[in-house]
């Protein structure tokens, strides 16, 4: 069992949990993910590692409540334990050899963009962060980003916090103002990563995106997480999860990501219904 050591609600739909998992903590690097279950007979869910503490033997995950499993996870408290927590899986972010980078985070993706920004910062790179949310209530980790960034833009769709607009607007402005990045790292919704990659392609700036497709095992066994990258089929779990954003077929990834939407919707409604009954 893997006990929950701390829990922080970051915004109405995003929760941060610190899980005790010494083997995972010992090896974890930014960019990698874990595979967990929240109950026996539960689904296996991949979550990218948001932080880790090798001394304490803990790994932090940050997730958005989007379905039945995340809903159940969000209802767990400090002292509860996950039955399964395996990792670290996938390849770590390559941070070496870059002098100036732009980190673009969208929504819950900011949670996993942060450790990447932090690592670049610690290695002495100039870090520009652009983080985007729908509205002010959903903003989280802005201070953390600020602390590891040489420049930070906070964007919201409705302008209720930071600047009004999309992360791509901010990125374009920075590039147009003469900022010269060795690499752009974009982590967020598929549609955001697609448009970041489209923009940077015009400017010829190498761009890395972190993919989060449907997965079962996370070790290369099922092939459910396959993507087309540069015309070749890749498995996000072992070949990624980070890929060259200019080569990823985002439209296919979006289509594959929606494969079980009706099932997921139904399962989510069921879970919510059960919690509502408990409240009554």
């Amino acid at each position: 069992m893997y006990p929950i050591r701390s829990k922080v609600v970051l915004n109405p739909t995003v929760v941060k949990m610190e899980i005790e998992a010494p083997r995972v903590a010992r090896k974890a690097e930014p960019g990698q993910f874990v595979m967990l279950r929240v109950e026996d007979d539960g689904e296996r869910m991949p979550l990218t590692i948001a932080d880790f503490d090798r001394e304490a033997g803990t790994v932090t995950v940050i997730f958005q409540i989007v379905g039945a499993t995340t809903e159940k996870f969000a209802h767990m408290e400090v002292g509860d334990a996950l039955p399964d927590f395996a990792g670290p899986l996938g390849r770590a972010t390559v941070t070496e050899g870059k002098k100036k980078v732009a980190i673009v985070g969208g929504g819950v993706g900011c949670a996993i963009a942060y450790p990447v920004a932090k690592k670049f910062h610690e290695q002495g790179a100039i870090v520009h962060s652009i983080i985007g949310f729908r509205t002010a209530d959903l903003v989280f980790m802005a201070d953390e980003f600020r602390a590891v960034s040489d420049h930070m833009d906070l964007m919201t769709d409705d302008g209720s916090a930071g600047e009004k607009g999309l992360v791509t607007n901010a990125l374009k402005d920075l590039i147009d103002s003469g900022e010269d990045y060795d690499e752009v790292i974009a982590i967020g919704p598929l549609v955001m990563m697609k448009f970041v990659a489209k923009l940077t392609k015009e400017y010829g700036i190498p761009t890395v995106v972190s993919m989060n497709p449907i997965m079962i095992d996370g070790t290369g066994m099922c092939g459910g997480c396959r993507l087309t990258v540069g015309g070749e089929t890749k498995f996000a779990c072992v070949d990624g999860p980070e890929f060259d954003g200019h080569l990823v077929d985002f439209d296919e990834a979006m289509s594959r990501g929606s494969m079980y939407k009706p099932f997921e919707r139904h399962a989510y409604d069921e879970a919510c219904h059960l919690y509502n009954m408990e409240v009554k």
Binding site: V24, K27, T219, M221, C222, G223, G224, T233, E252, S255
Partner: protein
């Protein structure tokens, strides 16, 4: 007086019409009377060719004679001297190409039903002898086993019996490997796998699930930091192959591994399962092996009309005859001499059909095998809403790529000594599908057994 019937006692099975509506076991097993009657067909001949046909050299005539005498537990004890998983092997071993192939009764009529008898004995033991095996006093030596499939379990069992402190590392959340994620419930009930694993636990074998060797911890770390004197790698051949044809990433295209894992490991066949699966109306399974049969029969049970598409003819199907026979009984269509060239999709990104190239067989080549060759211009379109690719798997590169000095074949298999399983890395052994590529449960078990013997010799310093 031997029973001179030329045919085996038939295996009682669930009616095909009924069984396609459930996931319960198809073959129901012999009654004691049937088992004794079948056992008396064994001539207890001096030559004992069956023992040589068994990859783990079970004393087959020995256990069969115990059945004749009605001493079922004694029969079990004889089998368990050689096999850690009799209930599993009695069900999934290809006996027709091993022990039964060389049975002298096969010269005139059918061989003795060795597999069915093995299964009977193992099942009898499980039901009647509930006492768990006792732990063997430790000899103070630690060995790690990577992977909890048939190969790893066999190696772990043999070493534990000799007093080794064995830890089995498993990447998934439950132990059993292909026995739990791959082979379906209706062919190998998971309760049986669990009971074999519980026996190993009772003997003192430790299981660490959720531990991905090569990621969570490396082989070198196990040996240098965690005190394991030897490591056996039985990590299987888990990486699914695809055909690299257009449309393979459409929604509704599964690897057999994914489809079977969703159904078996994640219990997607149960109504209240937390794991989704597409319930296709018309499913094409591409491939002709046992895994293809398993996938087809699972899809059938989920309510689909299913066809198996294979590029050669039924005669060349790599699947066991029994599996193909069961599949046919269940109404699965066999579309032979065809090979997919494209998977078609609709506007929503879901599978709508498959285009297949019709094939014919060439004259047999020097190896005696006829090659499928395309019939120019004969390409047909079949309407399906799901495709399951079952064209084989490769060894997972996770371990080889993270272990220095572990030599592999070009195609990914770990290079290991044929007799001992020793790899190019000192005190690291490997066997099963990780070495051979996808093969059978019993061959994997044989390799686990051989490695256990050599590990013991090396650690005890008794190697000659």
């Amino acid at each position: 007086m031997a029973n001179m019937s030329q045919v085996k006692n038939e295996m009682p099975v669930q009616d095909p019409k009924v069984r396609i509506t459930n996931f319960s076991e198809v073959a129901l097993g012999y009654t004691p009377e049937q088992a004794i009657d079948e056992a008396t067909r064994c001539l207890n001949c001096k030559r004992r060719p069956c023992v040589g046909g068994c990859p783990v050299a079970i004393d087959i005539p020995g256990f069969i004679q115990k059945i004749v005498d009605g001493e079922f537990e004694e029969a079990y004890q004889i089998i368990s001297q050689s096999s850690a998983l009799p209930a599993v092997c009695g069900r999934v071993c290809p006996q027709e190409s091993q022990c039964e192939r060389v049975c002298v009764r096969g010269a005139r009529g059918e061989a003795v039903a060795i597999g069915r008898l093995e299964r009977f004995v193992a099942d009898w033991h499980r039901v009647h002898v509930t006492e768990a095996p006792k732990p063997v006093p430790s000899n103070g030596h630690k060995v790690a086993v990577v992977g909890s499939g048939p190969s790893g379990l066999t190696c772990a069992g043999d070493l534990a019996r000799k007093g080794y402190e064995v830890t089995v590392f498993e990447a998934l959340h439950i132990a059993g490997g292909v026995l739990v994620y791959g082979i379906p419930e209706f062919r190998l009930p998971k309760a049986i796998v669990q009971s074999e694993i519980n026996n190993l636990k009772a003997m003192g074998v430790k299981f660490e699930t959720n531990t991905v060797i090569g990621k969570s911890v490396s082989i070198d770390e196990l040996m240098e930091e965690e005190g394991f004197e030897s490591v056996y790698i039985g990590s299987g051949a888990g990486l699914p192959r695809f055909m690299k044809i257009p449309g393979e990433n459409l929604n509704g295209v599964y690897s057999a591994n994914e489809f079977l894992t969703r159904v078996n490991l994640m219990k997607a066949y149960k109504e209240n399962s937390n794991t989704p699966i597409q319930h296709g109306n018309r499913v094409a399974v591409v491939g002709g092996g046992n895994v293809a049969m398993d996938a087809a029969r699972c899809a059938r049970r989920l309510g689909a009309d299913v066809m198996i598409i294979y590029r050669r003819t039924e005669k060349e199907l790599p699947a066991r005859a029994e599996e193909a026979h069961h599949a046919k009984e269940e109404g699965i269509e066999f579309y032979m001499l065809a090979s997919p060239v494209e998977i078609l999709g609709n506007e929503q990104g879901w599978v709508s059909g498959v285009r297949v190239q019709q094939m014919e067989l060439s004259e047999p080549d020097e190896s005696g095998r006829a090659k499928p060759v395309p019939i120019e211009g004969d390409i047909r379109t079949i309407a399906v809403d799901s495709v399951i690719m079952s064209i084989g798997t490769s060894p997972n590169p996770l371990i080889a790529s993270t272990t220095e000095g572990l030599a592999t074949q070009k195609w990914g298999g770990i290079i290991a000594n044929d007799e001992t399983g020793l790899t190019s890395h000192p005190m690291v052994y490997a066997g099963g599908d990780a070495v051979t590529g996808a093969a059978t449960v019993i061959l994997a078990m044989g390799a686990g057994k051989a490695a256990a013997t050599d590990i013991d010799h090396q650690i005890m310093g008794t190697a000659d």
